[in-house]
């Protein structure tokens, strides 16, 4: 953490640059897979290609929110309450929100193509929207103000509550019979009705999006650390100025 703080030029290190190159390469390959190699779907035609963005991005969002919750739990249970966990939680939360947004947008474009409408009030779609809003609320609470520790504790508790929304989203299709695709991949069953390359592309998409996520989170965490450090330095100056106020 402190290496990033020490280098004033940016949040990159050698390792993250490697990660970044990997991410870009795998993204490029994913584009090839999705747009060129994989076949059109029998029913959906070319529009099925949206899947390689839509599905990995929501799964990565789950991972992100899971990470937010895990880091929050670690923060709350650790003895020394290191703020690094809070920053990881916050960074993952922000990027998770981004990925949900991507999934919402691609999903509704896909919906336009395959159902003829951008949006229906189906359980999966609605619960995804609620998930999005819940984490917007989480980010709003992070910005409520107070000391870093107040922010960390408050938002950690909220993150642990918010994660409860994910099972709701995931199982919503089964709870309420809905238009949306039932869970076909992540059911744990054996009867996966997807062509091999499609499945491979999907999982490859998951991997590349996860790489992208990790890359973003590390940078975001470091920039948050820099912000905190700046604030600390600002506090030193502010304390000096405050002492000068004394009339003596």
């Amino acid at each position: 953490m402190n290496s990033a703080v020490a280098s004033p030029r940016g949040t990159g290190t050698r390792n993250t640059r490697i990660l970044g190159i990997l991410t870009i390469a795998s993204m490029a390959f994913l584009a090839l897979l999705g747009l060129v190699f994989s076949a059109e779907d029998r029913d959906q035609g070319s529009s099925v290609r949206i899947m390689y963005v839509h599905v990995p991005s929501i799964w990565v969002a789950y991972i992100a929110f899971g990470m937010t919750a895990a880091c929050s739990a670690i923060y709350l249970s650790s003895r020394n309450r290191s703020l690094i966990w809070d920053r990881f939680a916050g960074a993952a939360g922000e990027i998770g929100v981004l990925f949900v947004a991507v999934s919402l947008v691609t999903g509704s474009l896909w919906g336009r193509l395959s159902w003829g409408t951008y949006w229906v009030w189906d359980a999966r779609l609605t619960s995804t929207a609620f998930l999005f809003i819940t984490y917007l609320g989480y980010l709003a609470v992070r910005r409520l103000g107070g000391t870093h520790r107040q922010r960390a504790r408050r938002s950690a508790v909220l993150a642990l509550l918010a994660i409860l929304e994910i099972p709701l989203v995931h199982f919503s299709v089964r709870l309420w019979r809905s238009l949306h695709q039932e869970a076909t991949v992540a059911t744990g069953g054996t009867d996966v009705h997807m062509d091999g390359l499609m499945l491979f592309s999907l999982f490859f998409g998951l991997i590349s999006f996860t790489l992208l996520f990790l890359w973003l989170v590390i940078h975001r965490q470091r920039s948050l650390a820099l912000e905190d450090a700046m604030e600390n330095r600002g506090l030193d100056a502010a304390i000096e100025a405050r002492r000068e106020e004394a009339v003596s």
Binding site: R112, T117, Y118, W119, W121, T126, A129, F130, I133, L136, A140
Partner: protein, 231 residues
Amino acid sequence: MSTFEQRRRVAFAVARKDLTIEWNSRILVNQVAPFAAIIMVLFAFALDNEGILQRVAPGLVWLATLFSMLVVIQRTFAVESADGALDALRVAGVDPSAIFIGKSLALMVQLFALELLLVGTAVVLYGVEMSLVGFAEAIVTLLTATVGLACVGTLYGGLAAGARGRETLLPLLLLPVVAPVLIGATRATEAAFGSGGAQVSEGWPWILLLAVFAVIFAVVGSVAFGPLVDE
């Protein structure tokens, strides 16, 4: 009695102050707008069965506007009474009708921004396709409805502001009065959206109704705000 020039100056000062407060606190942008969007989602969720939703979309836009308006008005008067500023305004001899006009103006700006967002959401979510005339009609509807809503909201908001338990008095006073706006704006929006096969031309009489409402409450408000709030 103050001159016209004075009154204009004070009204603008009040409006500027309210908008500055919004600018400083960003409540509308950060919180009311998401709230309004959530309301639309909740409605949809509670009511969606068998395609009811598409037909009632314009009604939902206006219901969401009304509920968000309640929040905005409460906030705009909470700001006045938090530290007794309303008393200070009254005792500064600021002309009540200027206060009314100023606060209504600020409320109009905020409401209009909110409605644009809501209508935009509805257009995107429900796949509404509007003609150019329909679009113009929608804008005119928003404008006239907003003026009426802002005036009546300010009037009753001011009345409720003094009372203990204002969180609950305001909706009680306000909701019955705005029912006509709700109907008129919904019908006009239906015409603009073409929901349920409505024609664009069917909207104008409703807009007229909204305009009449706006004028009535702008005038009544300027006159009645003093007596209602002051005593």
